[in-house]
Point group: C2
């Protein structure tokens, strides 16, 4: 089934069940008000939500309505944890190569992961509000999973069972702030503003053979100002699968239901498939031509990120966002 | 007023109002079920909670009971954001000095801040469960503030008005994991397991003259296995006050109500007042004697962190925790 959240009814929005074609939806209010609450009691809630999804499919759901993605928040408008990996190590290697520095071999065996801000995720069509173009505004197309309660110290194999939902996201990044933030040694803080999510998160069974329990074998398509920017396959060159990433996140802590775990920017070694972020294209330009030529995002630029199944149906709906100028309070 | 959270009624617990002496408490259920909900509607909720606090003070609160701090969760058992500064730059300078490396001068003007895990905070008497003593288990005594909704790009002066509650916390740290985590460049992830909080968070007026709107002028007392470990004053050598820290956190993002902002380990230049974490004592030992002699925490060790007002009354109650062995699931 496919789940989304309407921007109505408070900070956590209102949970809706969406049909496979992303055409119609129905509020799940009679079952559970929010996705966070559903994840906290998943074994009890999932069958009821699935029954509602069946009614929607059969055109029997009372109160169903046409889906308008601009009315949607992120599936979790806010979450208690956002742990983002960097699991396409080929991407990290490229970035290092452009800087002329060696990548530690341990990066192939020990996942990179940062703690992201999760208090205010933004919806699939929400504007990316930024005060300054000079910050180096970039998109990052990623795969994300949402888990139920995960015990500390879990194995990668056991961690797979905790994946309840899969989605895609835009991990907005401020490249020129990241440089100075990382130099301070405390992580990305300013460099990672609010993350945007697709219209829906889906249960793994919706992915069919494309999902093996821990990786998603389909291309992620990024379109920048109407032109395709990249379509790397999310299973190709994935060094750490989601079982490994969740186990990594849980090494010294329990993960509360509703924790979102990200893959990092989807990237393939094959330059022919393009990129899921501007930074990687700039790195490839630097390696090829000695300097980057693609600028970061300007006010008015649009980024669209989407994944299609083998029949061409959009799985999660499209993230489609415009960058706009933000004016700070006086 | 002083607010705490009972471990009852679900993941966010049950909000209670506690008297000044930390002797008696009363459930706030008739006003608002949880502290998170109270923070989301603070202008409406605060006067009602204050009226209940007055009833409790006057021994007129129906259903009041004797406070047992072992029944308490963190005031926010889980939060949507935990942004922890490192505002006692003298501490950072010491750590660098012991490593023989220069500290960038920008550290005196640009705050250090990391994104912490906020999905599962632990209570004042909860055990610190860790799988391995070799991780270098340490405590960190800090001051924390809890804010309501903060606009992106706010000034330090305007940010002060968003401080609704003040508390103390133990930012448990795994020193031997931090070394390898920071070397990877993505922040502390594994090095910062669940953070523990004092029994209560208090409104700034409870602090009287000790609070100037952005800093807390009282010693923070850490007691390790029954012996005083340090009592540095939280206003002394504080390079960035809470107005500055909140403004820093909000530079590229909105902060959702219930965000916790931390000071970092309270530390003074004066070695005579001791330390709020073992790592700093080891640094001072290294500078003085060429090597550290105080080991990190072992299973069975106890840490107590408390702050007393000028009359000797405990303000937030004591964090008092034991380190225990955690066995991961099979």
């Amino acid at each position: 089934m496919k789940l989304g959240t309407l921007k109505e009814g408070g900070r956590d929005g209102t949970l809706i069940v969406v049909d496979r074609e992303l055409g119609r939806a129905v509020r799940a209010t009679n079952i559970v008000p929010t996705l966070q609450k559903a994840l906290e009691s998943w074994p009890a809630m999932a069958p009821k939500l699935r029954a509602l999804a069946d009614e929607l499919r059969d055109d029997k759901a009372v109160g169903s309505f046409e889906l308008d993605t601009t009315a949607l928040a992120a599936p979790l408008p806010r979450a208690y944890q956002w742990a983002d990996g960097s699991a396409y190590v080929v991407h990290v290697e490229l970035v290092r190569k452009a800087r002329g520095v060696e990548m530690p071999p341990s990066f192939w065996t020990d996942p990179l992961m940062y703690q992201g801000g999760s208090d205010s995720f933004i919806g699939p069509n929400d504007e990316i509000e930024m005060a300054d173009e000079a910050w180096g505004i970039d998109f990052e197309g990623e795969i994300g999973v949402i888990v139920d309660d995960v015990p500390m110290g879990i194995s990668a194999e056991a961690a797979r069972k905790h994946i309840k939902l899969v989605t895609i996201l835009n991990d907005v990044s401020l490249r020129n702030l990241i440089v100075t933030e990382l130099a301070k040694g405390f992580g990305f803080f300013h460099g990672k503003p609010a993350t945007a999510f697709a219209p829906v998160a889906v249960t793994p069974d919706e992915l069919g053979e494309a999902w093996n329990g821990a990786r998603l074998n389909l291309p992620l398509i990024s379109t920048f100002n109407g032109r395709e920017f990249g379509h790397p396959n999310a299973a190709t060159d994935l060094t750490f699968d989601f079982g490994q990433l969740i186990a990594h996140a849980a090494r010294t802590r329990f993960l509360e239901a509703g924790t979102v775990v990200g893959s990092g920017t989807v990237a393939n070694r094959d330059a022919g498939v393009g990129c899921s972020c501007i930074a990687e294209r700039r790195v490839r330009e630097t390696i090829d031509n000695g300097k980057p030529t693609t600028p970061f995002m300007k006010f008015g630029d649009r980024i669209r990120i989407e994944m299609l199944d083998r029949a061409g149906q959009s799985i999660f709906g499209a993230i489609d966002q415009k960058v706009v100028k933000y004016d700070a309070p006086g």
